[in-house]
Amino acid sequence: MKLPIYLDYASTTPADPRVVKKMQDCLSLDGNFGNPASRSHAFGWKAEEAIEEARQHVADLVNCDSREIVWTSGATESDNLAIKGAARFYKTKGNHIITSKIEHKAVLDSCRQLEREGFSVTYLEPDNNGIVSPESVKNAMNSETILVSLMHINNEIGVVNDIESIGKITREAGVIFHVDAAQSTGKLPIDLTDLNVDLMSFSAHKTYGPKGIGAMYARRKPRIRLEAQIHGGGHERGMRSGTLATHQIVGMGEAFRIAKLDMEEDNKRIKNLKDKFWNGIKDMEEVYLNGDEFSRAAGFLNVSFNYVEGESLIMALKDIAVSSGSACTSASLEPSYVLRALGLKDELAHSSIRFAIGRFTTEEEVDYTINLVRDSVEKLRTLSPLWDMYKDGVDMDTIEWAEG
């Protein structure tokens, strides 16, 4: 077994070796290096062919028409294009947007920008399990509402929103529905002919593809129109200009082709590893699973180890690559806004670790991690004055803390 162990698959994934091979073939003189927009020679035609094949693979994974897929630089750009593009195009219809407090920053910051431009935005609170209820979406709508933007799988806790039910509500109201699906490709089946989703964001590097490439789905029937955010040569039907990066796109196409092929098998294995992991630590005292236990994507485990600060735990787990909702890992000194929106007390948010299991995680790695986590938490609790107080039966909510 090789150390350190990578358990941060929700942050990014390594490219699958099959993806790397495909990409390498699109770079050098003897490969497929042409500009897909070159109409005058075979180099361009061949590159365009590869682009369209990749577009079909992406469309196949989410069951849509390949003409509904637009290449972008990643899910962040897709979120920006979908939200700002739709809001600005349809601003004469209304100025109200609905999203949630636990969206990715790409969505939240796009909404903040629109607020500065005069739009009004409702930030929904999720339930305590992290799920945004369809009722709360319905209740937040008014005659000015033009857009709802919600994520499919939350990137910190892995819980899954009911986009099927929410789509029914938005479609009935004639409101555009954007879904950030950066975390869900290859983890959950997505059928866009069935779902009433109008815009969807995808990322390659969360699904064993390369970084720097993503895609956006824009429905054709009923047709959703957007104001372009990047202007130039009119690529991607004017929605996103810029020379297409053949190697990146081919990599994403291959990654999504493999995702469709291997999704069931992958997820079964990953879920077993996740269950093994959780069963290996859940009997410890004061350990909490964050987010709904059942409506969640296979690889995610966001756990709070009470009375242990998350960053110190990460330091103790130096052979394991994970991330934390602790303030100390961010520049802001604020604990995770996602966990706080779930109603978690600050100290539990500070004590949280996200373990994300993926395609290349082994059983041996999980066993090793279980032992290391148990040992490290115990050691850090020996060091923790809060653990002493808990053991002494002190009610910490009644203490007046001298804040440093």
Binding site: L383, S384, L386, M396, W401, A402, E403, G404
Partner: protein, 134 residues
């Protein structure tokens, strides 16, 4: 963010050999013990520093120290570093220890300076508590 070598070393030593590194507690009501607790769970760090003191000449000397810290690696390393600085000092000398001394000893990056500030506060509180008993 990468940690300085000194923080990592201090943190790991403290974690793996807590007793040797003065992790522990005394009864705070003992007359020769001064206790200072600073920080808050909601802020992500709490330090509890205890000094054991003896009268000597016209002053009082810190003969031993115990601590426990809930916080990030730098907070734990800062408390542990502070302990090394305190033993054998008079209360007057201990008061002179500034957060900068701790930050410099550990090469703390600017974003972790608050950990050393907290450590400085904990000495002052512990001394205050001890002095209230004499």
């Amino acid at each position: 963010m990468a940690y300085s070598k000194k923080v990592v070393e201090k943190f790991e030593n403290t974690l793996n050999e807590p007793e040797k590194n003065s992790v522990g507690r005394w009864n705070p009501s003992d007359s020769d013990i001064g206790t200072g607790m600073v920080g808050a769970p909601a802020c992500g760090d709490v330090m509890r520093l205890q000094i054991k003191c003896q009268p000597k000449n016209n002053s009082h000397v810190i003969s031993d120290v115990k601590f426990k810290t809930y916080g990030c690696g730098s907070a734990i390393a800062s408390s542990s570093e502070l302990v090394d600085m305190l033993i054998g000092k008079t209360l007057e000398e201990a008061r002179e220890i500034k957060n900068k001394d701790i930050a410099n000893a550990l090469d703390l990056p600017p974003i972790k300076i608050h950990c050393s500030v907290l450590a400085e506060d904990s000495i002052l509180k512990a001394i205050e508590d001890y002095e209230s008993k004499i």
